[in-house]
Subunit: 212 residues, 2 copies
DNA sequence: TAGATTGTTAATCGATTAACAATC
DNA sequence: TAGATTGTTAATCGATTAACAATC
């Protein structure tokens, strides 16, 4: 993890994919792999593999290739997956519930330590490893637990007010499932957007314009 | 909708965003907008706005700008959102249930007409507008209803066998929440992947390397 | 007509791919 | 040593931005 500065988003967004393929190879007890072979498996060019990996360090060895387990470990470190960033879930609707139950936060660098909703019928519910609390208690909870990230699973129109509270509490990282533009409001926030409807519209476009 | 051929994916993936912003402006009864103003609102360059829109036709008017409602309608047509592609949900776990309940398929070009699971405890459940059926009945259902798209909400290891059946039934479009590589298996399939764990890993990377 | 703003071409920038010398 | 394969530089390709003539 030597020279990670000014890495482009194109490269960064490919890292999880490298990590997945290397994890698979590691599970299959593959010991070493060349950029050529890895590229073939991942359906990219060998040049890209070598360029991408070299953004972070010289992990390979001429004439040999890359050690699968070592490279996997390097990328795990680069991604910071050993972290346990304390995170809260905002919104315990269908979506938030699905995430709390379904996402393996531990392996992805996070620990989900709390969940909040304004809906009285949801408060007290257990989802995944957490119990849904009243969003009114957000401040006291965050102050007690130094929350670093929030997973926003509430409708767009409700985001702004809760976001303001989270930001005031020092939360700077957001996994955002709404179309509210967090970056426009807080330029220093780290934001990953998941826009499901955009993805589905893109599918629709490609079906509609399939033979164009 | 005149000349949509060889449009790059970069442009295509921006269309839903234009559509969203134009829909908002339209709701606010804004009648016309210049590329400059739209660019400002969307935080992109005016050049990009004009280039992007001109991939599909000359929707503007010199000295005037663009009619918000007309442009919105054009993009709606380009995306094909007026469609009602018959689609099935595969997997009625937390995630599939959340999608069935939460996603507004009608506005996104699809009609969800069926849902399937192998788990006996899920079969018969009503989620959103559909009743979960036994996946054993997939063939008879698809033959009766000419299904065009499938939303895959099952774990990676279960995708292959179900995908083979769907493909054999003529389904060629997939909204894929697993890490199974559909395109590698069926090159002519239209696939939109949603890789939630990749997104969360990217957030983790950016938090970890925040000050690099 | 004068002012505004598009559509489109040309210039720039960044990302990907190719090539190859370094080296295990 | 000979063969393999990296790390890295150079070439290519594509996407973004700037500029401006066309025109409403």
């Amino acid at each position: 993890m030597s020279k990670n500065e000014g890495i482009s988003m194109s490269v960064i967004r490919r890292l999880p994919r490298y990590y997945r393929f290397l994890s698979e190879l590691d599970e299959q007890h593959v010991e070493r792999i060349s950029s050529n072979k890895l590229a073939q498996i991942m359906n990219v060019t060998a040049s890209q593999v070598r360029q991408d990996l070299n953004c972070f360090g010289g992990f390979g060895q001429q004439g040999y290739g890359y050690s699968v387990s070592a490279l996997r470990q390097e990328i795990q470190n680069i991604l910071g997956l050993h972290s346990h960033y304390p995170a809260v879930l905002i919104g315990a609707g269908h979506f938030g519930t699905a995430l709390a139950n379904h996402v393996d936060f531990q392996r992805l660098g996070f620990t989900l330590i709390g969940g909040f909703d304004t809906d009285a019928s949801k408060i007290g519910m257990t989802i995944g490893t957490i119990v849904v609390q009243d969003e009114a208690d957000l401040e006291s909870f965050c102050r007690a637990h130094r929350v670093e990230a929030a997973f926003l699973c509430i409708p767009k129109q409700n985001v702004e007010s809760t976001l303001n509270r989270l930001y005031a509490l020092g939360v700077r990282s957001y996994w955002n499932f709404s179309h509210y533009d967090i970056t426009a409001k807080y330029a220093d926030a780290v934001v990953e957007n998941v826009h499901l409807s955009d993805s589905l519209m893109t599918l629709c476009y490609r079906m509609t314009n399939r033979h164009a």
